[in-house]
Amino acid sequence: MMANVIFRHRDVADINKLNIYKKNGGFDAFKKAVTKMKPAEITDIVKNSGLRGRGGAGFPTGVKWSFIDNKNWPHYVVANADESEPGTFKDREIMESNPFQFLEGVAIASFAVGANAAYVYLRGEFWQVAKFLDEKIAEMEEAGYLGENLFGTEYSLKIYTHLGAGAYICGEETAMLESIEGKRGQPRIRPPFPAVYGLYGKPTVVNNVETLTNLPLIIQNGADWYKSLGTPDSAGVKVFSLSGRVRKPGNYELPFGTTFRQLIYEHGGGVLDGHPVKAIMPAGASSSFILVDDKVLDTPMDYASVRTLGADLGSASVIVIDDTVSIDWVINKTIHFFKHESCGKCTPCREGTYWMMHLIDRIREDGHSMADVDLLLNVARQMQNKCLCPLGEFSTMAVVTGIERFPQDFKVHNP
């Protein structure tokens, strides 16, 4: 069994204690970065490591950093700990169990882009996690890993937590920035991207918790080491959040390229009551449905391979659906979720999710009209490529692929 990269708390007891973390190489990478490296060198290592954003978009992290506007100061780093996608529950475990590695990652990213202040934006429900991180940040300040003139250099850094208050949309990076600014969490029109116009209008890098937690080991062990894990297309390891109709739901840190079968059967203990897998949503409620057969189960989970199945890996929040579940019931859940979470700023999403909700409610009644199923599909398709941010687009994925790939689940029920 390979040693964990993100979930080191599963190998090292009490790694959430500062002295234990330090004994296990903690803060060596940050110290090396600040005292021996130039910010551009760090960005290059991260670029070469192949690390891609773990929040769902999969954008190359080093490339994102390289867009930062060096003519406009100050710079900010924001850690995205909003984790609200149905099916995603990895960042909370990282922050609760391996907090210093995450915070060291925030510090390394901050140094790499020249930020002297970083905010960790946690969803409001993570109130206890925020309190815990505040304590850990205070311990780091006390030990000289945060604050003024770090390691005797000119570099200074403060990290602050900021709590959201129950809005999925704030996981979208520009909505998150609005929220930190004390406004409603509604996305901005992009471009300009945060690297140019971010928090308080200043250049900002927003990275997911898991992405940041990779950084200390990448800096310590090098880009080639990280690339040697995973597949050529998807470097490194990933936390797969497994949920739904499996015996052992949970987080599993595995190399990219692990197959669905290995995740569901070897790690997740198989499906409840031995039922067959009917469908997989690999990226939470935002996913397209994958219609499952043997070939699908043996598909490696990396960004490119999952795309060949007509879906995206996203944040690798694998929801397993078995043959006891009807797809119309599933999309009823996802549509209600997106209707509730739509921020209301753009019309296609605000109105589209509203009408999809009413249509699915009607379709779920006995003796519904098949014309409503066609209309639902029509509304979803009309929303596509027209919404201001990905939320609206995501809300249509399960609807369109559900109706197209599982038509039998939308047939008229005769009571």
Partner: protein, 168 residues
């Protein structure tokens, strides 16, 4: 009661987290602080927060209206917020919710007669592997309760009722 008088030190600490020219950023933490009192915020509180941060009362109210964890109406002392979203529902969250309603004798959205517990259905709380689960939003912040059963939940409700009665 004026927030500025009661919490002057905490207010300063909160505002200091943000650049001095961007005081408005403190609106969310200040609302959490104010909500500790009664479990909701009223017009006066919103006015005072607006004054503290040089924004209008309407701007503060728009934050309260947008984010689900702020409330402008009184409810039970504890809001029991059960996740009934897809991953939890695949593990029985809807049936769990139905049983809670039957045991508490209230519907979703209602409050027990003694004013202690309000039962709410909420979207994903990022604990999909530990369903059925809920969070309790109360005077002491937010608390997760995971891998729950109806029996364990009713024991918890009894404990809350006892502590709620003491506070009264």
């Amino acid at each position: 009661m004026s927030l500025a008088k009661k919490y002057s030190k905490e207010i300063k600490q909160i505002i200091a987290k943000y650049p001095p020219e961007h005081k408005r950023s403190a609106v969310m933490p200040l609302l959490y602080m104010a909500q500790r009192e009664e479990g909701y915020v009223n017009k006066e509180v919103m006015q005072e927060i607006g004054k503290l941060l040089d924004i209008t009362e309407t701007e503060v109210a728009s934050i309260v209206g947008f984010y689900t964890l702020y409330h402008d109406e009184k409810a039970g002392k504890y809001r029991m917020q059960v996740c009934t979203d897809l991953p939890c529902a695949l593990r029985g969250a809807d049936q769990f919710m139905d049983s809670l309603c039957a045991n508490l004798g209230i519907k979703v959205g209602e409050t027990t007669a003694d004013g202690v517990v309000t039962l709410e259905a909420v979207t994903c709380l990022a604990a999909c592997d530990k369903a059925p689960m809920f969070q309790i939003q109360g005077p002491n912040g937010l608390e997760y309760h995971e891998d729950m059963t109806v029996d364990k939940t009713m024991e918890l409700v009894e404990a809350l009722k006892k502590s709620g009665a003491e506070v009264k």
